[in-house]
């Protein structure tokens, strides 16, 4: 079997860095791109669902955030929301509101009204660990996806393409 040929596709790499799977769509492999998107964002949203918005926190978990940031701009948006719309500014220290604290319009802590919930509840224990782990796992897979988009094999087919349009996808790329 001859060695697989690769080429460099920087435009696909940029698309992949913005949204994992998009790079493969740009390369003409939409089904592969959708499967990648489902895998990476399944893990990512699963982590957010399990750990809550505190799972993405640049200040409190900087090392985990480094791994989560590999997913792309999504992580920065979620972190921005967490820092600016959920956390409270307690005399210069930005932190998660205590269970008996609310958040005023300027971001400072205040007493909760009757029946009012805090901006968010902090995850603890294994739930918090899973919330950190899953988006980080998604980030590590996003690196793999990025490299595959940057250096695609020219003989790669779009996955499941045999059930649909055989003429499309990477075959076109390979011929060009």
């Amino acid at each position: 079997m001859p060695p697989a040929q690769t080429r460099i596709a920087p435009h696909a790499a940029v698309a992949s860095a913005l949204l994992p799977g998009l790079g493969h769509v740009v390369l003409g492999m939409p089904r592969r791109g959708v499967l990648i998107f489902l895998g990476v964002f399944g893990l990512y949203t699963g982590g957010l669902l399990i750990g809550g918005i505190d799972a993405i926190d640049r200040r409190e978990h900087p090392l985990w955030f480094f791994g989560q940031a590999l997913v792309g701009p999504t992580t920065f948006v979620v972190n921005h929301l967490n820092q600016n719309h959920f956390k409270v500014n307690d005399q210069g220290q930005v932190r998660t509101a205590n269970p008996d604290e609310g958040r005023d319009d300027d971001g400072f802590p205040r007493a909760l009204a009757e029946g009012e919930a805090p901006p968010n509840i902090k995850g603890v224990g294994r739930v918090s660990e899973l919330g950190l782990l899953l988006p980080t796992l998604a980030g590590m897979l996003a690196v793999l996806v990025f490299l595959d988009a940057l250096l695609p094999r020219v003989d790669a087919e779009d996955l499941l393409q045999s059930t649909g349009d055989k003429a499309g996808g990477a075959k076109k790329d390979a011929d060009s």
Partner: protein
């Protein structure tokens, strides 16, 4: 503060904002079951990147999922044997 923590149990769960165990306390006991969907999603992504041809894609995804789950279960059993049996022998 303790009262405030206890009162959290009465608050409505808000998806993606609060941790899931607020709405689903059983998750604390059953979190290890999440290994299966996590292994599946990792396998799906990995195989979507690495499988360059269409044949047997889904089969390879399920095989890899099973391999990950079995490997983790094996590591768990090995760690359990080491901690429960081997360590007490080494350090009585």
């Amino acid at each position: 503060m303790v009262d405030a923590f206890l009162s959290l149990a009465n608050l409505p769960y808000r998806p993606f904002i609060d941790p899931l165990d607020i709405g689903l306390p059983a998750l604390r006991e059953w979190s290890y079951v999440l290994l299966i969907p996590v292994a599946f999603l990792v396998s799906l992504t990995y195989r979507a990147v690495r499988s360059h041809h269409t044949e047997r894609f889904w089969r390879s995804v399920f095989v890899m999922t099973a391999q990950i789950v079995l490997a983790i279960v094996g590591l768990t059993i090995a760690a359990q044997i080491f901690v429960q049996i081997v360590l007490p022998i080494l350090v009585p």
